[in-house]
């Protein structure tokens, strides 16, 4: 999404225009979901946290100073929510969440791939998911991580290599 349009949409959201936010949701849902899936490693949790993040993006939009930076900003929100989620998971098992999880014990798509992704180091999984879910654009990822495109490319190569190694060993078993 171009910066100008993004800025306009953010300005409208600040004035409470919910339909303007729809445009931002559509533009960034892939990125948000990719981050969640990369950090959390399973699609159910990823969907929950992504939803939370996108809603928080709307309620907190007044805190965003530069409208054209929405992409990086929502990326930060998502990462923080994922960190919170992981930390919560570590020390508690909320009865309610357990129950909801049990109710959604659906079959996995691409179990082999998902299994391999789960074995990747978190940062590799994250960069890979972002790449594939956010339009295969290293520029987008660089924006999200607030780093250079070259650094992103290196990370993608490394992640692909690690994934290959895992899939290779699994296949050989």
């Amino acid at each position: 999404m171009n910066g100008h349009l993004e800025k306009k949409l953010v300005a409208s959201c600040r004035n409470g225009d919910r339909s303007a936010y729809t445009g931002l949701v559509k533009a960034y849902s892939g990125r948000v979901f990719g981050i969640c899936l990369g950090m959390l490693g399973n699609s159910h949790d990823a969907e929950d946290v992504a939803q939370q993040a996108l809603l928080k993006g709307f309620t907190d939009i007044s805190q965003l100073r530069h409208g054209e930076r929405f992409g990086a900003w929502i990326g930060r929100i998502v990462k923080n929510l994922c960190i919170d989620f992981i930390r919560r998971q570590q020390f508690k098992r909320n009865a309610f969440v357990n129950r909801a999880e049990a109710g959604r014990n659906s079959s996995k798509e691409y179990p082999e791939l998902q299994g391999a992704l789960a074995k990747l180091p978190q940062d590799s999984r994250l960069v890979l998911m972002l790449y594939y879910f956010d339009g295969r654009s290293t520029r987008n990822i660089a924006e999200t991580f607030e780093t250079s495109e070259a650094a992103v490319q290196t990370r993608i190569s490394r992640a692909r290599k690690q994934l290959r190694e895992i899939l290779d060993t699994e296949g050989g078993e």
Binding site: V25, F33, R104, E109, F133
Partner: protein, 547 residues
């Protein structure tokens, strides 16, 4: 594999991300065409790419559902409650007794942790951040207001805070509760004027070297966070620029620590603090927001405000808190209490998060308190599944239309755009009636879902009522428990690095004689102390340690 191929395969990774210069790429392709191993590797990577793409394609359904759920939630009536949060805090905060008990628990934990904490250095900060936080770090006295927000959308609770070196703090809540904390004296006095009740906590066996550093109050907590942020500034401190706050021009910094935010706003000219916003994540999915404002630093404050004397006519309850250096026995006691409380499970880790986890245990993990209602569980599950099913139907129904719209957006050919739009209109006509029905159904389902939530809330409330004991008893129990827990965990935390301590109790059940859950080497000892799942202890030679 030959070294040259190993090298080539590294480059193949770059080839597929399109980061190789054309010349290099051509060279590489030449080698690949000649080398079976490398061409196999390239094909494998291409296969991975296909697999990932297919996977992402399938997951687009989920992304689309995500979008529609978000948009849907935004368009919902603003008065409707958010669908995915059980407001335990609302329940807890309704009860005065539990409110005090929670506050007391927080104070007790802070005392115990504060006792073992040592001040960090303030080196390495950029001048600007250091300049705006210095007044906070160096103030001898301070008054401020503390607005604590427990539930988003509800009014905040405002405390009057006063701070005076060395480490004294007075905190008043609407005249209901006054807490005076004096770490030099090792005493915390909590006064409840309405009930004419006072609680005195006496801190015992405090090591002298800690007296200067221990400050148990929110002011201290803010200082601690600032110091930590300074230590880690490159990663965690972000300049926020200028903003108008309370009619003044302020500059701000945000410091982040493991997902928790702190924002410090200071007057752009005097550099004195105007407002500090921070969040503390505690209990369930709740974040407590704490805003400190109306600061006055280094002003005259009367010593009597921090007096530990109990006014006449008060009933006094005194408690002791042992803060001597924890020993091995404390660790064992902690394990014992923890396993008793959590149905034989050991903590997942020995850190401060675990302590918080333990406070939450009464609500979530104490077996006797949790009675699941099978029917309710079933009904919730059914409603949830039904909702998912309908939302899936909606996805499927609108998928062609949404795809057409995407194509329309992507195309730049006027003729093609026209066609796509036409197709989209037709598709819209075809599906809109059914779509309305589905959306209506989803809307109707929210009511049963909310009802299921409400039942859930009631169940938690019933669970919680078991802990609605008389305040003094509750406070005493909380204190006893927390002292044991914190001391045990601090024993491990305070072991020197060369003690080589390990904790492996996660997922171990109490009584497991054969599994070592904790081991460390005492100072000047050849052998290790090993604690097992049945809480027995043995001295073990290094070569016989668990792997």
């Amino acid at each position: 594999m030959e070294d040259i191929c190993r090298n080539i395969q590294e480059q193949i990774l770059e080839l597929i991300t399109d980061t190789l210069p054309a010349e290099k790429a051509a060279e590489l392709r030449h080698h690949i065409s000649q080398c079976p191993a490398c061409s196999k590797y390239l094909r494998a990577l291409q296969g991975d790419d296909k697999l990932l793409s297919d996977f992402v394609e399938v997951m687009q359904q989920t992304v689309a559902r995500l979008e529609s759920n978000v948009i849907d939630a935004l368009n919902r009536e603003p008065s409707e409650k958010p669908i995915s949060s059980v407001s335990i805090w609302r329940i807890i905060m309704k009860s005065r007794v539990t409110r005090f008990a929670t506050a007391t628990a927080v104070i007790i934990i802070a005392v115990l942790i504060g006792m073992y904490q040592f001040g960090g250095s303030i080196d390495g900060a950029t001048p600007a951040f250091a300049d705006i936080v210095r007044p906070i770090l160096t103030a001898r006295t301070a008054t401020f207001k503390i607005a604590v927000n427990l539930i988003k959308g509800q009014p905040s609770q405002v405390f009057e805070g006063m701070f005076m070196e060395p480490g004294r703090m007075r905190q008043e809540m609407e005249g209901e509760v006054i807490a005076i904390i004096d770490m030099q004296e090792g005493k915390i006095v909590i006064l409840m004027p309405e009930e004419k009740t006072a609680m005195v906590m006496e801190v015992e066996n405090m090591p002298d070297e800690n007296k200067e550093q221990s400050q148990v109050n929110m002011f201290f907590e803010i200082r601690r966070r600032i110091k930590q942020a300074q230590d880690d500034e490159d990663k965690s401190v972000e300049f926020l620029g200028e903003q108008e706050i309370d009619g003044r021009t302020a500059i701000g910094y945000r410091a982040q620590e493991a997902g928790q935010d702190m924002v410090v706003w200071a007057d752009s000219e005097s550099l004195l603090p105007i407002r500090i916003e921070s969040s503390i994540s505690i209990m369930m999915d709740r974040q407590i927001t704490v805003i400190m404002y109306d600061f006055a630093l280094d002003i005259e404050l009367d010593e009597s405000l921090f007096s530990l004397e109990i006014p006449e006519g008060y009933t006094v309850q005194t408690m002791q808190m042992d803060v001597s250096r924890p020993k091995e026995e404390d660790l064992i006691e902690m394990f014992r209490l923890w396993t008793e409380t959590t149905d034989g499970r050991f903590p997942s880790a020995l850190d401060m998060n675990s302590i918080r986890g333990f406070i939450e245990a009464p609500l979530e993990e104490r077996k006797e308190a949790i009675e699941f209602d099978e029917d309710q569980e079933l009904s919730f599950k059914q409603v949830h599944e039904e909702f998912s099913r309908i939302s899936q139907q909606w996805q499927e129904l609108t998928l062609p239309r949404r795809q057409l719209w995407e194509e329309y957006k992507k195309s730049s050919e006027p003729e093609e755009r026209k066609n796509r739009l036409q197709q989209w209109r037709e598709e819209y006509k075809k599906t809109s009636q059914r779509e309305k029905e589905l959306l209506q159904k989803m809307k109707e389902m929210r009511k049963p879902m909310n009802e299921a939530m409400e039942r859930e809330r009631e169940a938690i409330k019933r669970r919680y009522e078991k802990f609605d004991k008389p305040l003094p008893q509750l406070v005493q129990e909380t204190q006893n428990t927390m002292t044991l827990i914190v001391r045990g965990i601090m024993f491990a935390q305070m072991l020197p690095a060369d003690s080589d301590w390990h904790y492996a109790g996660k997922d171990v059940k109490l009584g497991d004689v054969n599994t070592a859950i904790f081991w460390y080497r005492p100072a000047n000892s050849e052998t290790y102390r090993v604690i097992y799942g049945d809480l027995s202890i043995k001295d073990v030679a290094p070569e016989n340690l668990p792997k």
